[in-house]
Amino acid sequence: MLHVLRHAPQDSSRFASTLRSMGPEQGLLMIEDGVYSLLPDTSSNSALQLLPASVRLYVMEADVSARGLAIDDLPKRVKLIDYPTFVQLCTQYDKVLSW
């Protein structure tokens, strides 16, 4: 299952709910304001880095750059993607859950 998070952890409890509801072999894609989960020196960023290595993390590159976050500051395990890759991920995971 691919989780897609579009809300900022600073604004919404969905970030916390997503992390609580995730299984070990799943993926998490952050889009729109969800990319604020990756702001450096935040508890959400630390929480993401503490997820098991089997959880794949993705972020929509356009949404990161549009919001002025520096690509270089992103944790190494986060993969930057575009829309064609988003579509491809949807075919790889058995279902998509949008938060």
Binding site: R6, D33, F86, V87, W99
Partner: protein, 137 residues
């Protein structure tokens, strides 16, 4: 080279947020990428504030993009099934000719390529598609 053909999927895409929400753009980018990737879109479903996209009356400032027009052109040129939740549309004043006449309203502001119908169309789309993706939740 043709390996990707084995993986062609039917997508059902729902949008819940309005024209001013970034989700309206995300969903369009996703839908375009799905078709570009050789996949099919079996249905688009517009719910909650997303029904405003189906209004022909909104006017955007000239220096801003017109997401409703882009959606309309995308749907028309690809001949997609674009269903707008009728209950959500009526509440927000998005009416086609038939509804304007039924409810005795002075204007209709929605028409082709949008189709007003019930939530059952979303249920049906989710059941028959290989993947259902929701934006703007």
């Amino acid at each position: 080279m043709f390996e990707s053909r084995l993986n062609v999927m039917k997508f059902a895409i729902a949008l819940l947020a309005g024209p001013q929400d970034p989700a309206a753009r995300s969903a369009l980018s996703f839908a375009q990428a799905a078709l570009d990737g050789g996949h099919q879109i079996s249905r688009l479903f517009f719910y909650r504030d997303a029904v405003h996209l189906a209004s022909d009356l909104a006017v955007q400032p000239q220096d801003e993009s017109d997401i409703a027009r882009e959606w309309r052109e995308f749907i028309s040129s690809n001949e997609l099934d674009a269903v707008v939740c009728i209950a959500a549309a009526l509440r927000r004043g998005v009416l086609n000719e038939a509804e304007a006449s039924r409810w005795e309203r002075p204007v209709a502001n929605s028409g082709q390529p949008w189709v007003l119908s019930g939530l059952g169309q979303w249920v049906d789309a989710m059941q028959s598609a290989d993947r259902a993706v929701t934006f703007g939740s």
